[in-house]
């Protein structure tokens, strides 16, 4: 896969449908290009602006949903950064992780991670560090923050808790129109 990072350039029909359902088409493209820094004030205090922007970029590369607004990724990164203010080991993990990422980007592409324009190039760098604690920490927090976030479940077409609605026995469990 060699896709770059704007939603418009992606022809895949599945993502278009996802886009339509989420109604977030307008937000995504801008958020992914120039708007990065503004969305990352959250972590600037703990790890610095460049690092926090890098973390956001990385977060979006780990679970790239082009239609999801930055805030959903920030919602994961903010508590992490807050925790890092108190937790020296975590702060080191994040700072050194970003530094390592940039070092590898420089070696391979001659620029910091944030400036590597093509997603597949950034993915190459991430694949090389995916077994490490820094990457796994981010991935683990993101998995919970994105896919275990009830606010996002409707966007993925998942129903969440059902018992309080009486389940699906009278809410279409047997409905399907294409088989």
């Amino acid at each position: 896969m060699n896709k770059n990072n704007t939603a418009e350039s992606i022809p895949n029909p599945s993502r278009r449908r996802f886009l339509a359902r989420s109604g977030a088409a307008a937000v995504c493209a801008g958020a992914l290009s120039a708007g990065l820094l503004s969305a990352t004030a959250w972590a600037a205090k703990a790890v610095g602006e460049q690092a926090s922007a890098t973390l956001l970029r990385m977060a979006r590369d780990i679970y790239p949903h082009d239609t999801l607004e930055d805030k959903y990724y920030s919602q994961v990164l903010t508590p992490l950064a807050k925790k890092a203010e108190q937790d020296a080991a975590l702060q080191t993990l994040l700072k050194e992780g970003v530094a390592e990422l940039d070092k590898r980007s420089h070696q391979r592409f001659g620029k910091p991670y944030l400036e590597v324009a093509v997603e597949s190039d950034r993915v190459q760098i991430l694949r090389a560090i995916e077994d490490g604690a820094f990457f796994q920490r981010l991935k683990g927090d993101l998995m919970m923050g994105i896919y275990n976030n009830p606010e996002l479940w409707p966007r993925f077409g998942y129903g969440g808790s059902a018992w309080q609605h009486g389940g699906y026995i009278n809410r279409g469990y047997d409905q399907i129109d294409w088989v």
């Binding site: 896969m1 896709k3 895949n12 599945s14 993502r15 996802f18 590369d61 780990i62 679970y63 790239p64 949903h65 997603e119 993915v123 991430l126 694949r127 995916e130 077994d131 990457f135 796994q136 991935k139 998995m143 919970m144 994105i146 896919y147 275990n148 479940w153 993925f156 077409g157 998942y158 129903g159 969440g160 808790s161 059902a162 018992w163 009486g166 389940g167 699906y168 026995i169 809410r171 279409g172 469990y173 047997d174 409905q175 399907i176 129109d177 294409w178 088989v179």
Partner: protein, 526 residues
């Protein structure tokens, strides 16, 4: 209701574990007037504790004490400390289970006679037959309320959208697909309501429509006054006298204090990792290799079923989560037909995961991220899929052993679980992946995802039944070959795994074992 027995009362049956095996045995004995204490490591939960939330329930009720997974299988890398997904709580894994209740097939009690020696596997015939177990299967189906069976006369659940999609695919490729016989009420029965299709059976049934010993066998046993349940009581070791008879059970109570409960009979039902671990931890100068272990088979032949997931993405919505977790089963390849290139059979169990678990299991481990995964998850509502459940080969080196140095919070050596595929398992799984793909492609699937085995929900075989004492740990009653008043009452008794989900067979065996224990006690044999 709140019966209390004395620690020095040596007339009691002490049952370790309150899940499918232990909970059933306790109630069966209680109904016959036989008094027991049930020691359960976990807490007692109520229906109020149950939520329709995958991770919350995982965190709340799973057995998360330190364990190691070893071996070349991918599970060891992806989940190095979670060999099994089972429960620490009153009710055991019957809280989490999906309710699929099927009888073993005739040949599955006779795998050695059926296929001869399978190189690299430690296959053995069960010392019992389907015919011997049939009356107990009937009782188990009645007790648990299995729908779609003659035993209950309860109808099947309505056909969910998930079921309909798969059934159509099965029809197109000429494969047999049936609605699942589930121990889940479709009518008000036994004081429990009918299923309302919440779709979270594997998080514990919020309304109690699904059978679980937590709110059936355990309270029924307590109501007789013949059973005392002690939750948060972790068994440390089983004691014996100089004649080699077990005499009591040492456990840590909820405050961490050690207590010794005396016993006339001890029944071990801690599921297939903890049960052999307890026997190994009870080693003494008389039994240096652990209790009941003259055969050396305690902890060996660990089986989990050949598993894996297959999830297809379609163009249109399926909404698989709007269903009982397992609405149906494709049974085309459940027989033993070596012409397929593997021994024994498998079933394709239609099964949904919620989005949170799908994100964790679609491509588990450190490399499960990136655009391909994200795109698949964007198609969550258009997915349909299976959990593969096939017979796995007993292999001696697949086993539970004790860590040489590391101890858990109770001071017990941490269990180490070694499990890897026999070549037959790999062939079977590949066959299942291929047939599933055909089925999905017949429906125009856009993409088919192959999921590696998750942490084991079915755990079997580590204290197996055998005709001859040298081949296994217990006889056909689940009674130790070596120690007459020591029984194994859970899935660790299984000689071979069969193709079917284990719980109905565990319950049938426990009902049968209760009859035997009662009779042996009456005749003062134990």
């Amino acid at each position: 209701m709140t019966t209390k027995f004395d620690l020095n009362d040596d007339s009691l049956v002490v049952i370790i574990g309150s899940g499918a095996g232990g909970g059933t045995l306790a109630n069966e004995l209680a109904q016959k007037g036989i008094r027991s204490v049930v020691l359960e490591a976990g807490k007692r939960f109520t229906l109020d504790d149950i939520e329709n939330d995958e991770w919350k329930m995982f965190g709340k009720i799973s057995w998360l004490d330190k364990r190691y997974v070893e071996g070349p299988a991918r599970l060891a890398k992806d989940f190095p400390n979670l060999p099994a997904w089972i429960v620490k709580g009153v009710g055991g894994a019957t809280m989490h289970w999906a309710g699929v209740a099927m009888r073993f097939q005739q040949h599955e009690f006779k795998m050695k006679s059926t296929n001869g020696v399978v190189p690299g596997a430690n296959v053995l015939d069960w010392p019992i037959t389907l015919q011997e177990l049939e009356p107990y299967y009937l009782k188990a189906e009645k007790k648990m309320g299995v729908c779609g069976t003659e035993a209950t006369g309860m109808p099947f659940h309505g056909k969910s959208s998930h079921y309909k999609v798969i059934a159509e695919g099965a029809r197109r490729i000429g494969a047999k697909c049936e609605q699942a016989t589930l121990a889940i009420n479709t009518e008000i029965r036994d004081g429990r309501p009918a299923c309302q299709v919440n779709g979270f059976c594997m998080q514990g049934c919020k309304i109690g429509a699904k059978w679980s010993t937590m709110y059936t066998e355990i309270p029924k046993a307590e109501a007789t006054g013949n059973m005392e349940l002690r939750p948060q009581s972790m068994v440390l070791r089983i004691e014996h006298d100089d004649k080699g008879r077990v005499t009591g059970v040492l456990y840590a109570d909820r405050d961490g204090n050690q207590q010794l409960q005396k016993a006339r009979v001890v029944a071990v039902a801690g599921n297939s990792i903890e049960s052999p671990r307890m026997l190994l931890n009870s080693a003494s100068s008389m039994f240096p290799d652990g209790l009941a272990n003259s055969s050396g088979q305690v902890g060996q032949n660990y089986m989990t079923h050949v598993t894996g997931g297959v999830y297809a993405e379609f163009d249109k919505p399926v909404h698989m989560y709007k269903s009982t977790v397992v609405p149906g089963v494709v049974k085309q390849w459940q027989d033993n037909d070596p012409e397929r290139g593997h021994y024994a059979g498998y079933e394709l169990e239609i099964l949904h995961l919620g989005l949170p678990f799908m994100s964790a299991f679609l491509n588990p481990g450190s490399s499960g991220w990136g655009r391909e995964l994200a795109e698949s998850l964007e198609n969550y509502d258009k997915m349909a899929g299976f959990w593969i459940c096939g017979e796995d080969m007993p292999v001696e080196s697949n086993n539970i052993s004790l860590h040489p140095t590391e101890k858990d919070q109770y001071g017990l050596p941490v269990p180490v679980v070694y499990k890897t595929d026999h070549i037959n398992d790999t062939r079977m799984r590949n066959h299942a992946y291929d047939r599933s793909t055909e089925l999905f492609e017949s429906l125009g699937a856009r993409k088919v995802n192959y999921l590696p085995p998750y942490p084991a929900s079915h755990n079997m075989g580590t204290n197996r039944m055998s005709e001859k004492p040298r081949d296994g740990v217990v006889n056909k009653w689940g009674q130790s070959h070596d120690i007459k008043n020591l029984f194994v009452s859970d899935g660790s008794q299984f000689t071979t795994s069969g193709t079917e989900n284990p719980t109905l067979t565990i319950v049938a065996l426990a009902i049968r074992q209760a009859d035997y224990i009662a009779e042996q006690m009456k005749r003062r044999q134990i």
